[in-house]
Symmetry: C2
Subunit: 317 residues, 2 copies
Amino acid sequence: MAAAEARPGGRRRCRRLEGEAARAVLGAADTLLFDCDGVLWRGEAALGGAAAALGRLAAAGKRLCYVTNNSSRTRQAYGEKLRRLGFPPATPRHVFGSAYCAARFLRQALPPGAAAYVLGGPALAAELREAGVPHLEPGPAALPGPAPADWARAPLDPAVRAVLVGFDEHFSYAKLCQALRYLLRGPDCLLVATNRDHRLPLEGGAAIPGTGCLVKAVETAAEREAFIVGKPNRYMFDCVASEFDIDPARTIMVGDRLDTDILMGNTCGLTTLLTLTGVTTLEEVKGHEESDCPARQSLVPDYYVDSIADLLPALED
Amino acid sequence: MAAAEARPGGRRRCRRLEGEAARAVLGAADTLLFDCDGVLWRGEAALGGAAAALGRLAAAGKRLCYVTNNSSRTRQAYGEKLRRLGFPPATPRHVFGSAYCAARFLRQALPPGAAAYVLGGPALAAELREAGVPHLEPGPAALPGPAPADWARAPLDPAVRAVLVGFDEHFSYAKLCQALRYLLRGPDCLLVATNRDHRLPLEGGAAIPGTGCLVKAVETAAEREAFIVGKPNRYMFDCVASEFDIDPARTIMVGDRLDTDILMGNTCGLTTLLTLTGVTTLEEVKGHEESDCPARQSLVPDYYVDSIADLLPALED
């Protein structure tokens, strides 16, 4: 497979994936990791040609996995959505959401009997249950009295040894307060978060705050940095690699975000492919390409396509 | 008045304020600015000797002002608390809380008719009302529906041209969402916060999250930095200086926090006096003294006392 292309001076360079190069790159890969939102679909609508492209990749014997920072859906729910939108059948085992990866991390990191205090929703709780990680059920929480002294006296669960922060539409000062109180138990209480995405884009240019905002609030209170299981951290790739026999040199990471999908792929030695159907423009890529800053260089993908439908010609017999 | 003492190499040095030096330093000052919590009182209990020391300073003709990052009380409420705990009478005019300073800033910065969206409590709203700044009433807020698309369609007030973040026990994802939507209007919508204190210490080593956690959440969502009216920013001192005829060379800032009280005092050219009755230890001061880092040097106070009761001997006739 074509390695990351470097220009004189060591700069990375991003090329359009088309023609013979596309046939060669796809032919040499045995695994493709797909981000979902902005890559395969937007909201409830599959992107044109995406299902057909994945169908051909599956028919050609490629392993298809799905890696998403969204902590609001279970592996099961992703499998159902893929099926509903016409993508090739995917078992939950091929889906690596940040809720599942967080549950997996805590199952390994927590001592027996230890529990997690969860800022998150039902999907995060379901993945914890599935992984056998004891946890407090998430949901709305009220302050336990009118005065700060009351808030600092609310009951704490003695079993809690981790605070887990995911997307939580019921996030509140009351929950931030409890999270801080658990974290003040010291380094024995882990601080884990699903991802740092700071905004979730919606249709029509609207946006809502992402999990990263909640993580920052908790980190600021606790004066600690969270361990992030989601992209760009390599933990999510390590989950894939521990489940399947993955050769990074034969794996392509396909995503629409430079600071999560492409950075994780580059960090893990994968071939990286940006699709312009999501939040990134080619101008941003060019800006990073021209930069001498190593941090910006690491955001440059190996290849880009306007849409993964552009892969269809290279996948014809 | 004794200027900031510098050792060879330009390092600041912090000395105990006692004996003849104390008489000289206090004698040369005409104004003292006091932080309150941890300096004058803890919770509802005045610190021993503090009221007597301030009584003598007032009797000696010193101007006493109160500068606090706490946005949960009005100037009026601070005046009443000072009286209740036996301190010399203080008019609201001598109290500079971050709620008042934020209202003052917005009165000057907002165009006529423009309003503020407020994350805060009743005291912040009261100071805005007093300053004549139109604002949405703070309080609990619920998400306007089950789905993200609903959240991005909740009504917005067309008059809002600022988001103001103070201490808000009703802070929630729903309010973070509305704040982001106002800030997405662009630079015409200001982002202002009362302070960045990340924790509020309570009795017995307990702590609750401070306003700084909420500010970080909003800044992360909006990808913007807030203008902070509270310490260590000099805006709070500028408020004092625009109200009274202040000579920085004849003004002492008395506080218990290095990163707010002492930093603001040093930045504004005041004499700085640390009291060890609050959150800071002398070991922390020594660490900054020994550092070559300019940012840490700027946290070194000119003087320290164990408690402001230590000033009493220097204030005897």
